[in-house]
């Protein structure tokens, strides 16, 4: 296509923004419904047919609510935190390819960019925990920080293993180099990445920073209205980004029958399955205790990721 550069950039930005606003809602609605049926319930049924507009109704409700800033809060930190939590995922979404051609911002080392940017999202949680002037928020924020430090390492190592196998730091390059037997070759890395991704999203079973029964939703305790909604949106946007990233790194992205035309659909389908798996874990599993969480990261995931790295190294030397 020969569009003027400015037009192309604006178009891409609009498309990414639209995806950023709709995909998390789709995930949220799926979670409502899947969780309900897994618990023998129907879930939302009143807003639109089968409650399809429930999250829109929730959004309208959040907009109407008062935006409270606690008197003892660190005002700017407190107010900025939701944006810091949300925007990194928008940037990450722009850099993740849906097919060889469908990528909004094609940067050479996009894997590095996406990993770096998604880690910034946790600063939002940290800022919220610190800025709220609330002990539960602070405890939650500290837990989030500790969790990030522990799980970032295995996650990056698992991603590095795929990058090594593909010989590329570009997500497009990695997905193009992928072939089906990587499913077995990179299996330990994939497991480590998935577990670490769930932990970084602070989803059950690794939701002890938010643990509503222990620290009353941790860093988000003091938030109301739209700012609270932004945190929720960030959580679901995070699921979208992590599912897409997992798809591109470990499931070959858009590869599949007729991938020339159906490529983006394959990406979407695979990512949706990964997202549903992440939702499923929340429904089926209990919360991991804080010390168990650290133990899992350092004694299981990290060695496993290192083994995967060695395995990949051997593979690359032998076959490459």
């Amino acid at each position: 296509m020969d569009l003027p550069l400015a037009v192309e950039i604006i178009l891409k930005a609009v498309v990414v923004l639209a995806a950023f606003l709709t995909l998390p809602l789709a995930i949220g609605q799926t979670e409502h419904k899947v969780m309900a049926h897994m618990q023998g319930r129907l879930g939302p049924m009143e807003a639109g047919p089968h409650g399809i507009a429930q999250l829109v109704a929730d959004g309208i409700k959040f907009v109407q609510k008062e935006d409270v800033t606690p008197a003892s809060a660190d005002r700017w930190v407190f107010k900025l935190a939701p944006a810091v939590a949300l925007i990194p995922y928008l940037v990450a979404l722009a850099a993740i390819p849906w097919s060889a051609a469908w990528v909004a911002a094609d940067v050479p080392a996009s894997l590095l960019l996406v990993l770096a940017v998604t880690s910034v999202g946790v600063f939002g949680t940290l800022m919220a925990g610190w800025g709220s002037g609330n002990k539960y928020s602070l405890v939650g924020g500290m837990r989030a920080g500790a969790q990030l430090v522990s799980y970032e390492l295995p996650m990056v190592l698992a991603a590095a293993s795929v990058a090594m196998a593909a010989g590329s730091l570009s997500l497009t390059g990695i997905a193009q180099a992928w072939s089906w037997w990587w499913l077995i070759w990179q299996l330990p890395g994939a497991l480590v990445f998935l577990v670490a991704a769930v932990a970084e999203l602070q989803r059950v079973p690794f939701d002890s920073p938010l643990a509503d029964s222990e620290v009353v939703f941790g860093p988000y305790t003091e938030y109301t209205g739209l700012r609270f909604a932004f945190f929720l949106l960030a959580e679901y946007a995070g699921i979208v980004v992590m599912s897409l990233l997992f798809t591109v790194l470990f499931l070959g992205g858009w590869s599949g029958p007729w991938s020339d035309t159906l490529g983006p659909l394959w990406t979407l389908l695979k990512a949706a399955l990964v997202a549903i798996l992440i939702l499923w874990l929340r429904i089926a599993w209990p919360r991991v205790r804080e010390d168990q969480l650290q133990r899992l990261a350092w004694l299981v995931l990290l060695p496993l990721a290192l083994v995967q790295l060695a395995l990949t190294g051997v593979g690359v030397v032998v076959w490459g």
Partner: protein, 205 residues
């Protein structure tokens, strides 16, 4: 996960079981009943609301006294029945002036119904009588009476005929069941002091 106590393998098996159970539930139809759209089919003896059969009540006050949260309010006065035969004795009986149950306080324990010796109180299955104003939850005598038509046949006293029904629900002979003897009992026995009791209750309220 790799704690000593459950063992790593066992823990993994437990996690797998969690996934399997939720997946199985997903495949089954949901249990939800869409209540406001679909009426629940309650057992006929559901404890929904308390109905008063006024002609059976002797104002004996037992229910009001046994009620754990004192939410039954009764007022009555005495009337004298002139002797029906020459040289007979005049009899007194209680006339119920007020019988209220405050459903904003009632905890549906059913003690009042159990304790009533004259079959004057019954459970009816209706439950949808919420009000916008809490004061409207005080159901007075006429309202408590209207619930009678919702009381299941099986719990009605022997010989009771629903208003409008040709024959009594169960017992074809006998007029309005226990009403007749109870008037005599209430008039002649120790319950005669209850009118005084009632007024002292009122002061307490």
């Amino acid at each position: 996960m790799n704690e000593d106590k459950p063992g790593a393998l066992q823990a993994l098996r437990g996690l797998g079981k969690g996934l399997a159970t939720t997946a199985k539930t997903l495949a089954r139809p949901a249990h939800t009943r869409q209540y406001p759209h679909v009426e629940p089919d309650l057992p006929e003896r559901s404890h929904g609301v308390i109905a008063l059969l006024e002609e059976n009540c002797t104002s004996c006050m037992l229910c009001a006294r046994e009620c754990p949260d004192w939410c039954i309010y009764i007022d009555s006065h005495k009337e004298t029945l002139e002797p029906t035969t020459e040289g007979g004795r005049a009899r007194q009986h209680n006339v119920l002036d007020r019988f209220d149950i405050d459903f904003s306080l009632c905890m549906y324990c059913g003690i009042c119904i159990e304790v009533c010796p004259f079959d004057a109180l019954f459970w009816a299955p209706d439950f949808a009588y919420a009000e916008g104003d809490i004061r409207n939850l005080l159901h007075e005598k006429p309202k408590l009476g209207t619930w009678m038509e919702r009381v299941p046949d099986a719990t009605l006293p022997e010989g009771y005929a629903r208003p409008g029904a040709e024959t009594p629900a169960q017992d074809a002979d006998g007029p309005v069941g226990v009403t007749e003897p109870s008037v005599g009992e209430a008039g002649s026995s120790a319950e005669g002091t209850d009118a005084g009791d009632t007024s002292s209750r009122e002061v307490e309220e």
